[in-house]
């Protein structure tokens, strides 16, 4: 709760700080803000409180996810150094928008009421629409923003429709009450189908937000067109918040009507896994590959949701953490390389292992992690998801599918590794990396490996 207020206040302060002549001060400032938010957020650990007459709950679930998202943002920000160098006049606004969208994300993991969910989603999304189009002169950025905006608001409408149906069936927006209300449903056939309709439409709405197939179409294009720095945010914080909200919704509100949405969710999961992995295989652009990869990871996270048992939350939490750390590092390195090579293709990475071993190593670790290979966090991410899902042995086939597609994943993740270490450098000029950015990369890499060795740090939180 405090974090929401702090983030909002800091966002506004930051806007004012934008008037300062020296843009150099902005980054440290916002980092300090985030660090403070991170710390304050932790104060709420093991101290469950509800706010705004039961609209928002701050429990460990919310704190853990808030922590991860704050930390993700914190570790992402150093990669914005180049904006500062270029003297981008809108930098303060970007930072503020990030802070504001983080407010939305925090609301999404702590909501107790569908209204809060909606508002959280919208705060997050609207900020993202802007950031997607932040490179005003780039047609690609324009296209991304327009597509994201149009499709996003369309699905806002869809989601609202779902909420309305739920409300119509149960007469409440409070998720706990909705969960309780299901006992009384079913006697009246009309109400029942309205409720089911609501659930399904809501599931579809959130699926869109986390770019689950077949509602993923926006994702590759938007991720591709958005300036890389913001893509990183989009594919980590937004996704984490979305999946966390999704699970919270299903667990708190719709657990009793499991049978109604389960087949749909399974279908969406399967499709997401397939589309994400198969789509990524043939990409020539590393960035676009990451976009598809983020779809596929949404699929893996959905598997934990499909499992829908006491291990699901831990699995999602760990997976988000692992995925975020690796993805930020990947996008971070991509951004640095892209700034120099003016290309986000695999070829841009040729010879990076020689010209800049640190970037190459971080990238390798990230790719290993995304590929789910041991010694990295990604392995335990997959491990927890698989173990959650296999508690229901009937879902073995889904695990098998995921396993096969994970192997496909190795292929496209390793293409960049191959480019870095085994292809001759196209441009011998080393990529410029500020020491602070380098430090952040090292932290991310260590984090990825640390979680890969001692997953208990995160997995035993919940």
């Amino acid at each position: 709760m405090t974090s929401i207020i702090l983030l909002s206040v800091f966002g506004i302060i930051n806007l004012f700080a934008g008037f300062a002549k020296n843009k150099q001060v902005l980054l440290p400032l916002v980092l300090v803000f985030l660090a403070v938010v991170f710390g304050v957020n932790l104060l709420d650990w093991n101290d469950t409180q509800t706010y705004f007459s039961n609209m928002l709950t701050v429990d460990n679930y919310a704190v853990a996810f808030t922590g991860i998202m704050t930390l993700t943002t914190l570790l992402l920000l150093p990669f914005s150094q180049r904006y500062i160098d270029k003297g981008d006049s809108n930098l303060a606004e970007y930072y503020s928008l990030l802070l504001f969208s983080l407010v939305g994300a925090v609301m999404m993991v702590g909501y107790e009421n569908l209204i809060m969910l909606f508002i959280g989603v919208e705060i997050l999304s609207i900020a993202m629409y802007v950031l997607a189009g932040s490179d005003k002169s780039s047609l690609r950025s324009n296209e991304a923003a327009l597509k994201y905006f149009l499709m996003g608001s369309f699905f806002t409408g869809i989601m609202l429709f779902g909420i309305a149906m739920i409300y119509g069936a149960t007469g409440t927006f409070n998720i706990t009450e909705i969960g309780a209300a299901q006992a009384g449903l079913g006697a009246d056939g009309v109400m029942d189908s309205m409720f089911v309709l609501g659930i399904l439409v809501l599931v579809i709405g959130i699926s869109f937000k986390i770019s689950a197939a077949p509602f993923h179409f926006w994702a590759p294009d938007v991720y591709d067109g958005t300036p890389t720095f913001f893509t990183a945010f989009m594919s980590t914080v937004v996704k984490t918040a979305g999946v966390a909200a999704f699970y919270k919704l299903m667990a708190a509100a719709f657990a009793a009507s499991y049978a109604a949405w389960f087949p749909t969710l399974v279908a969406i999961t399967v499709l997401t896994l397939v589309v994400g992995n198969i789509g990524a295989v043939i990409q020539t652009s590393f960035k676009r590959m990451l976009a598809y990869s983020s779809i596929s990871h949404a699929g893996y996270m959905l598997m934990a949701l499909v499992a829908f048992n006491e291990s699901s939350d831990t699995s999602i939490l760990f997976y988000s953490a692992a995925y975020s750390a690796a993805t930020i590092a990947a996008f971070g390195v991509l951004k640095l390389v892209q700034d120099q090579q003016r290309s986000a293709d695999y070829e841009a990475f040729n010879g990076l292992g020689k010209t800049n071993p640190l970037l190459a190593f971080s990238m390798t670790v990230s790719m290993l992690s995304l590929g789910g290979i041991p010694l990295t966090a990604g392995f335990f991410g997959k491990f927890f998801v698989f173990s959650a899902l296999l508690q229901n042995p009937d879902m073995l086939w889904l695990v098998v599918l995921a396993v096969i597609l994970a192997a496909v994943g190795i292929y496209y993740y390793f293409r960049v590794v191959i480019a870095m270490y085994m292809q001759p450098a196209a441009n011998q000029k080393p990529v410029r990396v500020e020491s602070f950015t380098a430090f952040t990369l090292i932290v991310l890499t260590i984090l990825t490996i640390l979680l890969g060795i001692a997953p208990a740090l995160v997995s035993e939180l919940l």
């Binding site: 499709m151 579809i204 294009d221 749909t264 043939i282």
Partner: protein
Amino acid sequence: MQEIVMPINNQGMALLCLLIPLLPLAGFLINGLGNRSIAKGLVSFIGSGTVLASFLITVYLFIDFRANGSRAYIVDYYDWISVGGMQVGFSFLIDQLTLLMMLMVTGIGFLIHLYSAGYMSHDENFGKFFAFINLFMFSMLLLVMGSNYVMMFVGWEGVGLCSYLLIGFWNKNNSYNNAAKKAFVMNRIGDLGFLLGVFLIFVTFGSVSYPQVFAEAAQYTGGIDSTVMIAITLLLFVGAMGKSAQIPLFTWLPDAMAGPTPVSALIHAATMVTAGIYMVLRSNVLYVLAPTTMEIIAVVGVVTALVAATIGLAQNDIKKVLAYSTVSQLGYMFLALGVMAFSSSIFHVLTHAFFKALLFLGAGSVIHAMSNEQDIRYMGGLRKYLPITFVTFLIGTLAIAGIPPFAGFFSKDELLAHVWEHSKLLWGLGVLTSFMTSFYMFRLVFLTFFGSFRGTEAQKSHLHESPMSMTLPLIVLAILSTVGGFLGIPPVFGENMHVLQNYLAPIYQFASVANPAAVAPMHLDHATEWLLMAVSVVAALVAAGIAYTMYVSKKTVPAPEGERLSPLHNLIYHKYYIDEVYDAIIVRPLMWLSSVFHRVLDVQVVDGIVNGFGKLTMYSGRTLRYVQSGATGFYLMVMVLSIVLILFLNFFIG
């Protein structure tokens, strides 16, 4: 039944036994590692000396054995392989048969070593030669001394390896190398059979050690000719086919003549090739339980003897003739085994070792003198130049032809007598073979030593008798070939004069329990025996006479290469085209299969399937990408349709 095999705890004796194979092994190591850095004199001293020492120790063992009441004993050194019930000890069995074989191997081995010192003296790889031939002695001794089938297999494979190394001794020449490889591979085909036989023995009797296996076999309750016994004996016999060059695995032996001549004498005539006979003899208790196998062995033996003899008739290479003669004689030995004339078989092994080693060494002496010419068409009249060689070679020929009183007469005669008792047909074929043997051997002698010299002037000027180190072994072997036959004097000359048979009697004791009928003594009346003797001697003499007329009186010289021959002659001259047939039905299909497996099955099918999954993924990726068309309207349409589909499926289906 009393236990005749006991372990001994006598350390000194154990050490002596161990020294017998180890001394040649030491020779191998010294000569092998110091190939060129050791002086030739020292090399031959080490090489021959170690074998001589082994021989002397063997003689001592033999005397000691006789002195101690001829009781067989086992010398255990250590557990070699022990896994579960499979206990394979590194241990030796010393009994009558072992000692006999050891005496033969080390004795003849020493003579051939001695001979090699002279014969190989000009070779740059003198040390290597002695190393290999010492290694052979080691392996052969393990083969005969081992106290279980696995130890025998060790020697079995070891001699095969040495044979390979020595056939390909001059390894710059790839046709020699091919011959070596062929020998090894054919041997290995047999080895597989042998090994499977050993496994079956283990499965059947729960042990691979001779005393246990034989004792179990003596009590065997499955009866005579049970499937398992036939299987065991046939599998073992496959091993013998390979090692002892029986049909169909005999073609390597003539090719093996690519090796240096002493090798041919030692390995491919006197010792290694008789390992098969030793094995069958050693396993006599198993074989008497499977008379069916015995029939097969007899038939294989006689066919081999006959086929090889016919081929021998038309060969012009002095060593090839001897090689086919060896195959033929080995066939004889198997024929003897097949009719359960075990002692006759080993008797022939022994005499054959004498005279065939003699003949090969004689041939070596001739080749030495002729500057490596081996074709008898370019020899002739060598009697004058090589008197010792001639005389000894003639003795060898008389022995192999079965002319009394030379060694071959006794062994062959006894053997044929047993065959007669078993089957008249086999006997007839045996005598026919004997006739041919006599013919081609005398043909060899006449073409080589009689008439006038047909070689080049350069060769003629170079003709000389071989040095002492070479002629001495010839003389010794000639003496042995002459008197060796008296080890087995047939009953017609006096009852119980068959020294060898009496000596070996204890090794059949299990067999006599398992199948008493099989090892019952021969019941031929003396008249028949005389008759049989007369027939074979006459046959041999007639053959010799024909050869004399053809090659001495008429001075016929075999047709030169390329001349048209009569179809039959052509067929046997080309060895019935067996090599060509093998090439067509085995080698080439295998090569073809290798290519097909690799290029088609492996690369296209198996790997193709693996790559197919990759390609499928790529293909679906490429196809799927068109859905991601970039058009917002299309995206929205697909998504809305998906929503409709989801709702439809949820509300109207199921």
